[in-house]
Assembly symmetry: C3
Homo-oligomer: 335 residues x 3
């Protein structure tokens, strides 16, 4: 598949510098692109690569146009336009409609004839798979699951009873949606399991990474808003609610009953306590510990970056010593 720069400029509303008839077939990095590749510059850090690029064309901002030695598609949002062009040149594989002969679909399940059910997949009783949805190889759907139109489950996704997934959402391998929340009541005999009878309701255009887990609600539903993007190995505990278009990098853990606003951006490895409220438009840098609610939009950080081990031991010792001294001095004054 190839497109001319003229077609791309018109379709995506870019200004074109160069030949409208030049055709591009693939995307590539500035450093490795050839004459039938299209590349992009979104991060000024890669300006040197731009000057030396052999790409057929580059998607870029007008501010760096002068440094571009080849044809260019000019836009104020080069990364977003690049993403759309890449989707055009490298469309996602579509699976053929139909149910693989090895799949097990309960007779009470309702699978649209345009949907795909892969090899060894299991679809439980009363589940619905809407038009053009794809259930990958080895996926397991419990009972009364609802998959919206064009949902794509990669191979080996587990969706448990009564989970709902909105249209166009994509879920990667190993994700587990709707396992029991972690609820136990303390008792002299030990911990008593608290039945987890809520479900998980996931909006439209959500993406969920590999081996991420989202637990069902204890009584009501765990809720993931439209357009939310979750990376790999994330844990979303029971009763959590995440607002639309919030995005989280890998290895984040969100504890039970916490509510997160819309358009938040969380770096990787963040730990978020339970029963907190985080407002809209909060960004948190990676590996931070969030133990209180946040009511003001903005950027937040935590953690202390590494030092050479020897310096680090000194910092820890100094911190513990001086804070202790301050207490002792205060206590002696209080006497």
């Amino acid at each position: 598949m190839s497109f001319s720069l003229g077609e791309l400029a018109v379709r995506f509303g870019c200004e074109l510098r160069g030949s409208p008839d030049r055709r591009v077939e693939h995307v590539a990095t500035l450093a490795h692109a050839g004459p039938t590749d299209i590349s992009f510059l979104a991060n000024p850090k890669y300006g040197r690569d731009l000057k030396a690029t052999g790409a057929g064309a580059v998607v870029l901002d007008a501010a760096v146009l002068d440094a571009c030695p080849v044809d260019a598609l000019i836009t104020a949002t080069p990364y977003a336009i690049y993403a759309r062009i890449a989707q055009l040149l490298h469309p996602m594989a579509r699976f053929a409609p139909g149910i693989h002969p090895t799949a097990l679909v309960e007779s009470s399940a309702d699978v649209d004839p345009t949907a795909h059910i892969g090899a060894f997949a299991v679809v439980g009783s009363g589940s619905k798979v809407a038009a053009r949805a794809s259930v990958g190889t080895h996926c397991v759907l419990g009972s009364e699951v609802i998959l919206g139109e064009d949902v794509q489950l990669a191979p080996r996704v587990t969706i448990l009873d009564r989970v709902q997934i909105g249209a166009r959402s994509i879920i990667h391998p190993g994700a587990v949606i709707g396992a029991d929340g972690f609820g136990f009541a303390q008792d002299p005999e030990g911990w008593i399991k608290v039945p987890q009878i809520g479900a998980v309701v996931i909006g439209t255009d959500v993406e969920i990474g590999a081996n991420t887990t989202i637990d069902r609600g204890a009584i009501e539903h765990t809720q993931i808003g439209d357009g939310v993007k979750l990376d790999n190995l994330i844990q979303i505990a029971h009763n959590v609610r995440i607002g639309a278009h919030t995005i989280m990098a890998a290895c984040v853990g969100v504890s039970g009953s916490t509510q997160i606003g819309e358009r938040c951006m969380f770096g990787g490895g963040i730990g978020i306590g339970g029963h907190l409220t985080i407002c809209n438009d909060v960004s948190i840098t990676g590996f931070s510990m969030v133990s209180h609610s946040i009511s003001k939009p903005g950027i937040y950080s935590g953690g202390i970056p590494i030092e050479p081990a020897r310096d680090w031991r000194r910092i820890v010792a100094w911190l513990k010593l001086n804070s202790r001294k301050a207490r002792d001095s205060k206590e002696s004054k209080d006497d």
Copy 2:
């Protein structure tokens, strides 16, 4: 299924205020309960919801009874009683005895006739599945695995060779029990794999969350005590021993050969070093780093909560600067 308040009061030893004949069918939150629902108040934070509740009845402590506008089951342990009532009203699904025609059970395996083996499950040679145990869809059991009575494996659990799981334990999707521990010896040629020949021995009444991993011992067994509860995405390394009734929230990592006592409570995201000993009755707040042994019961904390990013940069700079100054001043005195 419904129960009268009178039946519930007798069965669970509660005092009843209100009508013994009122019947309840479901559990619900105070805020959303209707007249055939039963709710509970365990956290005084939700006291306002109690005053406005439309529940048929509420399980609560005598101290808050006056604020309750509806019938009440009065107990000193409302959350534990709620858990038991919820188990009664919402019993876990029981699978029919028998082996699904698509399952593969080695002829030398011993599967009790009352056990359930789900679709596409694989049960290896010499494995034993005791009475009423349930092996979910797509589970894989290696050879010589032992599942106790009433064990429940959710879909897609992997249990490797020689792992033993005690009665009534529950394991959620994606968990991997008995993969090789991470053992390598350094050598001029690179890392040499150290065979991991121990197994994993799991007690009774254990619950293990989705995508959690528990590695087999290097030589002897990794051991998980009775009544232990592990949330999702937890890593338990080889040779670890965890005492009875200890509970860990999600994303905790326990390094190799560490011993953890009984009745410990760990928040989410904690990292625990290797070859440590943690005594009984230790609680650790979430996202803490544990790099030394703990010999005294109590509550421990670590980590520094987030600040607005600008304040945070100041704190880090100040900490590093002042600890360095202290060292330089000490060093110049030492000269």
Copy 3:
């Protein structure tokens, strides 16, 4: 299977003290070994166990020989020699060549006749499985996957399209190799998915732990060098490159486009930011936050170990108060 101490001494270049005809059958810990077991002492911490051992023989360094009450294989690298002996006494199970009748192998796939394909495994179109490689029960291979000679996939591994895995590599259950990287462009309409068209290229002699995830590159390939060892629940993001013989304990997260050198050693739970460069021979202690590049080999640390909760609250309060005071004082001087 048993070996005489004489055979072992010759094969592994050890000095022998004791009877060359004594035969050993199993490995065991010093504390629990019997007369047909061989044990080892690599960590002087276990010196007391050496004195009391009932082992048939012990692999140890000459420095501790005097304390050994039984026969000994003497070497400067006892743990590496132990590892090799354990491999000999406890060889990994080899699966019989052939394709299980329930497996689905696309006709265009090229499976060597000496390879093993387990029950319910799926091998996609154009994939190649080399000599003696083993694809475990329930594994899923996408299209155009390449598995080198003697690769071993445990049950339930997912390898997506175009991933390449070098000879002798071992991958544990639940690992997901080649899921989409986490790439989205911000747009007024929400996040736009950036197609992830690179693959993952894994070297020879790599080991990858249970439920670890390695994402495919955005445009070029994510690369894992020869001899790399990754523990469980690790996240390797798109475009990351890891140099040969680097080793990472569980729960590490490496963000996108970061390059890590050779022979690095990372403790568990470390978080590493994106677009960083870490040079060869860097060791980082567990649970550290790495937010800048490292250009000098050495040992690095971060994080602040736990304290009793009350002391910890004091430390945090003191740190925040004093750094604020320092700022206020500086600001008033600046006025």
